[in-house]
Symmetry: C2
Subunit: 194 residues, 2 copies
């Protein structure tokens, strides 16, 4: 998506060969009108998926997930949580995910009532990198007997291989901007989409 690539080039900060910060519109400060534009594109790309529900991972996937849900007629958004549950007796599905950015493992979890058998769930996240959070969310959805109808990322970092892992388990992956490579601090894109 051209407008997104331009914005990443204009405002993104390349921290190293594998980390781009887009805190100004996606990760800490959120440009709501731009999220709604991106959401329209996700709607177009996943129109055939006809999701009943959107799932995302806390934290920074939440704004774009909410915008996408609105585009699909205000279907519910569920977020997979990380860390220790407040209530110990919570009935949850859980799945482990490694964070390469933080170098830690976290159990992703979702309350059992929030994903129902047979539901069609579209996963929306801000980044697709190593795909660990995505795999964990697919696992949570499938544990519930529901169906993953797609995975949409705002920004994909191709070299980190997340797409391949998700495709291997049969998930339709679609990103709005795909970073092919970062060379000497310069970002190179490849054609976005499926």
């Amino acid at each position: 998506m051209k407008a997104l690539e331009e914005r990443i080039l204009r405002e993104g900060k390349v921290e190293n060969d594998s980390l781009i910060r887009v805190d100004g519109f996606l990760n800490q400060q959120v440009d709501i009108a731009f999220m709604d534009e991106l959401a329209k594109e996700f709607r177009r790309l996943f129109a055939d998926a006809a999701p009943d529900k959107i799932m995302t991972a806390e934290v920074s996937g939440i704004p774009i997930a909410c915008s996408v849900a609105r585009e699909f007629g205000s279907i519910p958004v569920v977020f997979a949580r990380k860390g220790v549950p407040v209530m110990e007796d919570e009935q949850v599905y859980g799945s482990p995910a490694k964070s390469f950015t933080k170098g830690t493992y976290a159990t992703m979890r979702v309350g059992k009532g929030f994903i129902k058998p047979g539901e069609k769930v579209l996963i929306i996240d801000d980044f697709l990198a190593h795909g660990e959070a995505g795999l964990a969310m697919c696992d949570l959805i499938r544990q519930a007997g529901a169906e993953v109808v797609g995975f949409g990322a705002v920004i994909e970092k191709q070299q980190q291989g997340g797409r391949l892992k998700l495709r291997t388990i049969g998930v339709d992956v679609c990103s709005l901007a795909i970073v092919k490579d970062i060379k000497d601090g310069r970002i190179e894109f490849t054609e976005s989409g499926r």
Copy 2:
């Protein structure tokens, strides 16, 4: 707000005298159309505040903050983060906040570029209880030389005293549902608003 009180009574789970779970529409699963309704009410209540920006605390304040931002003409949303920054050299404002639910302290922080001197910032959060997160966010905003033009919570738990703390430092507080008391698992509301 009547529709909100009814929904809390219908779907809220009283865990103990100080904890109500509204995971089904606010905290883990989000009802987007309902968030947009609540946002319209916040817009009405804070019309005179004319905010330039919305601030919220990760995680569950984010969906309602995004809806409120859209109501005010898609102004930016900034979220105050908890925990350890990924990038150690990050330039941030920080302020400590105690979580009574989790029994821990966390430093809330926001990147220095995201709140500018003179900006009018409206804080929106899902809950107002002890007011610790609210106080920390006010501190972050004031460190940046910006102005707190109000604090809006979806649900306030009156007995935990957060409103008084925020009023004491001169902040206009407004909640859409105010829980006066929880007796034998029954929720009692008092008139909501300022």
